[in-house]
């Protein structure tokens, strides 16, 4: 695919092209926090930031999502029969998404879409209608550890276009046919531009200081890790809150509930989390993950052992560091995984 140049003074024209028949979103500064919002011009979007506070997963997997509706009348010919919500009506572009977050979507693709039965159309529809334009990280922050979990500050996985900030311009790398269509008309990059991007990539990789080692986690059996003594310490301070899972780009557990209001009814899914006691509770009162330790362990085992075992070695973590930054009691995933690997 082609390597193009996007001059910084041509950004507005580029963005205008993007939002002509699509909804365009980008990271913006809101109340001192970096979050996603619709943008129309280049100066509305952020171009120099570490990452958004929360992951962009809710573009594809909203925290609350209506799946179906029904007429809440028994006896009516149409009553009580579930009708799926319509699909997304406009395609979307996510601009300046970080490579770690894009990689996370590809991990989630492996879970949401597996075969004819495990084929989450809600996820899939939004994925197929969304174009991802990534912005490479030249300055990873101290909590980033993407390179140690198979991602990269300049990673291209899951992206349609990768932008690399070269100072006065961006190197725009088309990665898919969708991406090619967006940047195909831009001027071609020179050899020097690509060399500079490669240098920045190397420099960015070098700035990732801490990380996780996975070799022993990979080679050990599930039960050896499960029974390891470390969990007794990890769980001690844990609050069993949902912060780590809700800010995580790969956490994807959910609950489905019905709601009614007079003759209207809907089936909604909401994010749920394995830290919650209620999550696995049986109707009989039996709870297979009845203790805090069980629940804390589940999160780490799921990401670093269960997903890799089941999904061809793919790790359920992209090293974005959000949980490290936001955990109210500083449970640091890097430390936990290194303890698993010890």
């Amino acid at each position: 695919m082609s390597q193009k140049i996007l001059a910084k003074n041509k950004l507005d024209a580029f963005l205008q092209g993007l939002c002509r028949d699509q909804d365009l979103f980008a990271p913006v500064m809101k109340d001192g926090k970096v979050g996603w919002a619709p943008v129309a011009t280049a100066d509305q979007a952020l171009w120099d930031f570490s990452n958004t506070e929360m992951s962009p997963k809710d573009f594809f997997f909203p925290q609350t999502e209506c799946m179906m509706r029904f007429k809440n009348v028994q006896g009516d010919p149409q009553g009580m029969i579930m009708q799926a919500e319509p699909a997304l009506n406009r395609p979307r572009v996510l601009l300046n998404i970080r490579p770690c977050d894009a990689k996370a979507f590809q991990v989630l693709d492996l879970i949401f879409v597996q075969d004819e039965m495990t084929n989450d159309l809600y996820w899939r529809d939004k994925r197929e209608k969304t174009t991802l334009i990534g912005l490479a990280c030249n300055d990873p922050c101290p909590t980033c550890f993407c390179t140690t979990v198979g991602s990269n500050p300049h990673g291209t996985t899951g992206l349609d276009v990768l932008l690399v900030d070269l100072g006065d311009k961006f190197l725009a790398q088309a990665l898919t046919a969708k991406g090619e269509a967006l940047v195909g008309d831009l001027p071609a990059a020179a050899g020097g531009d690509e060399a500079k991007a490669a240098e920045l990539k190397k420099a960015a990789e070098g700035k990732i200081s801490g990380g996780v080692a996975m070799d022993k986690v990979n080679s050990r059996e599930v039960m050896e890790l499960y029974d390891a003594p470390l969990w007794d310490r990890v769980m001690e301070s844990c609050l069993n809150c949902g912060t780590c899972t809700f800010c995580c780009p790969t956490c994807h557990c959910f609950d489905i509930q019905d709601e009614t209001q007079g003759q209207d009814g809907r089936r909604v899914r909401n994010w749920d989390y394995c830290m919650s006691w209620l999550f696995t509770m049986h109707g009989t009162g039996h709870n297979p993950r009845g203790t805090k330790k069980d629940r804390v362990r589940q999160r780490f085992m799921h990401k670093f052992k269960y997903i890799p075992v089941k999904r061809g070695g793919e790790i359920g973590c992209v090293g974005c560091g959000r949980c490290v930054r936001l955990c109210p009691v500083n449970i640091d995933v890097r430390q936990v995984v290194n303890d698993m690997n010890a």
């Binding site: 209506c66 009614t260 209207d264």
Partner: protein, 65 residues
């Protein structure tokens, strides 16, 4: 009597977040005071009707997200 304290705090709290005062009522009625009960219920019904449908704390599931 315990309820009196709890309701005092709850009533203040609900008014504080913007729920109309008329939506929460509290009365002492003995099981022997049928007439007071009848009158109170009628009065409360009147008050709430006058306020109209609640604007807050109502989830409209018909709304498309």
């Amino acid at each position: 009597m315990f309820a009196r304290r709890r309701f005092a705090v709850l009533k203040n709290l609900l008014e504080y977040v913007g729920i109309e005062p008329g939506r929460l009522h509290f009365s002492w009625i003995s099981s022997a005071e049928a007439e007071k009960f009848q009158k109170t219920v009628a009065a409360v019904t009147e008050d709430v009707k006058a306020l109209g449908p609640a604007q807050h704390m109502i989830k409209d599931i018909r709304k498309v997200a």
